[in-house]
Every structure is written in C-alpha cells, then in structure tokens.
C-alpha cells in the first residue's frame, strides 16, 4: 500500500513504541437511503467497522423523509459498503393515490410507484483528520 495512505495511530493506554499502523480514510460516501432502512443499514456498516454519521433529509420523487449517511472509508472498503447498502435498502413498490383522469369527481386511483433502493455518491478525500 502507498505510504501516503498510512498513518500512525497511538492509543492512549499503549506503551511507548507500541504503535499501530492503519491506513487512513481516503473516501467519503454519501448514501441517501429511505427512513425505514436506516437502522439496518447503519448497523451493518458499523458492524463492518465503518464510520457513519446520519443527516435527516427529504427528497426524491415523492418528497419523502430519508436519511443521508456520511461514511468515511478506505478505497478497499468501498465495494463492501455498497454491497451492505444494497442488501439492506430494498427497492419497493408503493401506491400513491392520484385522481382519475377525465372523471367528473376526483376519484382516487392507486398508482404503483417504485421507491427506494439507495443513491450513493463517493468523493475522494484529499485530507482526513481526527482531532
């Protein structure tokens, strides 16, 4: 691995010289997931040792509540993160009521709409720091 991506982490209770070398975070992923999938997705990501912060957001075709996850990771973890998100965030069909075209009264009709999955963006991180 490129030396640029390695940093030395010294844990507070470690003895002198006992340094642990671990690769630093070089990617930041934004994953927009549906509110009902958040808990499962964050749990899976946390269990895989990925750092996750959650921002509540709204948007998408139906303007529903969703959550944007910020996930810090190394390059080799990207595939795993995408797989976990894919497993936990299913696409589902929901029905919204729309008025029937041409009817004299607004008769609601159930219209199927495919929602979800997740939308994922990954950015390269130029600099990562923990204070």
């Amino acid at each position: 691995m490129n030396e640029k991506y390695l940093k030395v982490v010294r844990l507070p209770d470690m003895e002198r010289g006992a340094e642990r070398i671990e690769p630093s975070v070089d990617r930041l992923m934004f994953a927009v997931v549906q509110a009902q999938d958040v808990r499962k997705a964050s749990r899976a990501l946390n269990a895989a040792g990925l750092l996750v912060a959650q921002l509540t957001s709204t948007g998408g075709f139906l303007g529903r509540r969703n959550v944007t996850l910020l996930i810090g990771m190394r390059g080799n973890q990207e595939e795993l993160a995408v797989k976990l998100i894919h497993d936990k965030c299913r696409q589902r069909v929901e029905y919204v009521s729309t008025p029937l075209e041409g009817a004299p009264l607004p008769i609601p009709v159930a219209t199927p709409v495919t929602v979800g999955g997740a939308t994922v963006f990954t950015f390269m991180v130029e600099h990562y720091e923990e204070i």
Partner: protein, 88 residues
C-alpha cells in the same frame, strides 16, 4: 476551492461556527447523529479557497473542547476537492 466537512459535537457547534464566521468563512450547519461521536453531533460544510484550508482546520482545532474522556474524538474532518463552485 475545497469543501471541508467537519463532524463535531453539539456542545462545540456554536463556538466553532462563530470562530469560522468571524474569520470570514461561510459555514452551513446540519444537525446530525451518528457513531463518529456517538451522541448529538453537528455537521459543518465549509467552502474555502485552497490556501485557506489550513486556517479553517486550525480554528476547528482550537475551538473544539475535550470532553475529558480519553480516546474520544473531538472532530472528524474530510477535505474534498470541488470541481465547480459558483454563488448565484
């Protein structure tokens, strides 16, 4: 242009934002939760000129306070390159 995404504890939010604003940085605050700091956290988005990144990080460094617990992070910072920036 770079974007700094800083995840800090809620208790440092006001102090850090004020410090950045006083130094002419423009800050967008988003309330967030999550496992970086495991409790109420705030995410700051800060758009900065390339040569001002270090100054902004220094302000965050100085303005975040330790909770006294060892091994607890005060802030997590990501610096991203911005391909296009405009204010409309």
């Amino acid at each position: 242009m770079k974007m700094i995404i800083a995840i800090i504890g809620d208790h440092d939010n006001e102090s850090v934002s004020q410090g950045l604003i006083q130094s002419d940085f423009r800050v967008t605050r988003i309330a967030s939760t999550g496992a970086f700091l495991r409790r109420g956290s705030s995410t700051l988005m800060i758009g900065v000129e390339d040569d001002k990144v270090d100054e902004a990080i220094q302000i965050i460094r100085v303005r975040t306070t330790s909770t006294g617990e060892t091994g607890v992070k005060r802030a997590t910072l990501f610096v991203l390159n911005i391909e296009h920036y405009s204010q409309i």
